[in-house]
């Protein structure tokens, strides 16, 4: 691992690289945690601006955690405790003929159940689970982004899966 050359990150080249590395993950994180209603795109920009404004006080190894904490706080300022309902995007079907109307109906119902069950998860569980199942991220990477241990990530994701399965059975 290379040593940081300077104490802070007030350099254009570094900042651009830093942005392109984390912006999407940050956006998705905010979306999974808070939903779309509160403009995760804008919050991403705002968080990066705050990082730049405080660049002289941030060391390269602390930058990512500063970014995520700032973005999280920006969101928290904009939201009370609301139930987050994520949009369900219907994926295009491979071939319409292969599936019967019943099947399509069943799938639709299932997805609705899943949507409801997801909104019943705790925030912590939901975020970790979505990063894992939707973005395909492994435990270690999620742990790094959220600043928690791999074990904690595992607990949240496994807990989420268990709860979702129970909820879907119930509904």
């Amino acid at each position: 691992m290379s040593q940081p050359i300077k104490d802070n990150i007030c350099e254009n080249a570094f900042f651009e690289h830093f942005y392109k590395k984390y912006a999407k993950d940050l956006h998705n994180f905010l979306y999974y945690k808070f939903g779309e209603r509160l403009n995760p795109e804008d919050k991403v920009q705002e968080a990066f601006i705050k990082v730049w404004q405080n660049c002289s006080k941030i060391s390269p190894d602390k930058a990512k955690s500063f970014l995520f904490t700032t973005a999280n706080n920006l969101m928290l300022n904009a939201v009370a405790h609301e139930k987050v309902v994520l949009k369900y995007n219907k994926q295009p079907q491979k071939s319409a003929t292969k599936e019967s109307p019943e099947f399509v109906m069943q799938e639709k119902e299932y997805h609705q159940k899943l949507q409801k069950a997801l909104s019943n998860l705790t925030e912590a569980q939901r975020v970790a689970f979505l990063m894992n199942r939707v973005e395909g991220k492994r435990f270690k990477e999620i742990a790094s982004l959220l600043d928690i241990s791999t074990k904690a990530v595992e607990k949240r994701i496994y807990g989420a899966l268990k709860k979702l399965r129970e909820d879907i059975k119930e509904l």
């Binding site: 254009n12 956006h27 998705n28 990066f48 369900y88 299932y110 979505l130 939707v134 595992e154």
Partner: protein, 297 residues
């Protein structure tokens, strides 16, 4: 490996081929897979980092320009403050003093030279020198003035003006004396004006006014060479001058200090100096520490 562990490994994309087979054998397998597949529909809206960075750049980089600008302003403010302090202090007068037994040479802004005798002081303004050559003197100084505009030496007893010349001004208590060594010197004092040619001296001592022509045509006063000379000067003024060059007090209560003295004393040897003064006047002295008592012989 139990069921939970397998599922956890699957979640982490961490199954080897053996474990994968075992996982597929689980009764929960189908249900879990269905759930997993359905999750893909909950993907976050698209976010293209490159595009959004371009949108961010103007917001960020004007702000950093603001930082530059603010820093520049701060530097400018400090510089402005620095310059005004420098300018202000430059416009103040320059003051040079000599202590007892100390002689010094001062070069004025136009290369005019001032030799300052002991226990004297001059004051002048560096910044205003070009328009106005003016020196305030208290004590004694020999001036070598560079040719140019009017040069004034201002003392409490009178003003000496020259255009380019060499002259000596002595202003002590009850003693005002100007000697011209070269050129022409104009002196304003006592309400009148007198012009001096080389070799001439004007004295105002104890209220007595005298214009004299020195016989010895020196080019400069002797005190510059370490010797104070006097021509018919009351003893008390000789003693005063002695006290300017040696750190001592002279008690002259027992002698008549209005007696006139002609001669000189050295700055470099106190006993010799004392003898030079006392012997011609038939006086003696007692010395204890830095105190001299004069007595009649």
């Amino acid at each position: 490996m139990n069921k939970d562990e397998l599922i956890k490994k699957w979640l982490d994309n961490n199954l080897n081929s053996q474990e994968q087979k075992a996982f597929e054998q689980l009764p929960d397998y189908k249900e879990i897979i269905r759930l997993g597949n359905a999750m893909t529909s909950f993907k976050a809206p698209e976010f293209i980092a490159d595009k959004s960075f371009e949108a961010l750049k103007p917001k960020i980089y004007t702000k950093s320009h603001k930082n530059w600008y603010r820093t520049l302003l701060r530097i400018a403010a400090v510089l402005a403050l620095g310059f005004s302090i420098y300018y202000y202090s430059g416009s103040l007068d320059t003051n040079i003093n000599t202590d007892i037994a100390q002689l010094t040479t001062v070069e004025l802004p136009d290369t005019s030279e001032v030799e300052l005798n002991a226990n004297s002081s001059i004051t002048y303004n560096n910044r205003k020198w070009e328009e106005n050559r003016e020196v305030h003197l208290s004590g004694e100084a020999f001036f070598k003035v560079a040719k140019g505009k009017k040069f004034d030496v201002i003392t409490n007893d009178g003003i000496v003006s020259v255009l380019g010349t060499q002259f000596n001004v002595k202003q002590r208590k009850n003693y005002f004396e100007v000697t011209c060594f070269e050129g022409l010197v104009s002196i304003k004092y006592n309400g009148s004006e007198t012009k001096l040619k080389p070799g001439n001296t004007v004295k105002l001592i104890d209220g007595k006014h005298l214009i004299a022509k020195e016989n010895i045509f020196a080019s400069a006063p002797t005190w510059l060479e370490g010797e104070s000379s006097f021509t018919e000067i009351p003893l008390k003024h000789v003693i005063s001058e002695l006290e300017n060059h040696y750190n001592l007090t002279v008690d002259s209560d027992e002698v008549d200090t209005s007696r006139l003295f002609t001669g000189s004393f050295t700055h470099k040897n106190l006993d010799l100096a004392l003898k030079s003064i006392t012997i011609p006047l038939n006086l003696g002295y007692n010395k204890s520490g830095s105190s001299i008592v004069l007595r009649r012989e």
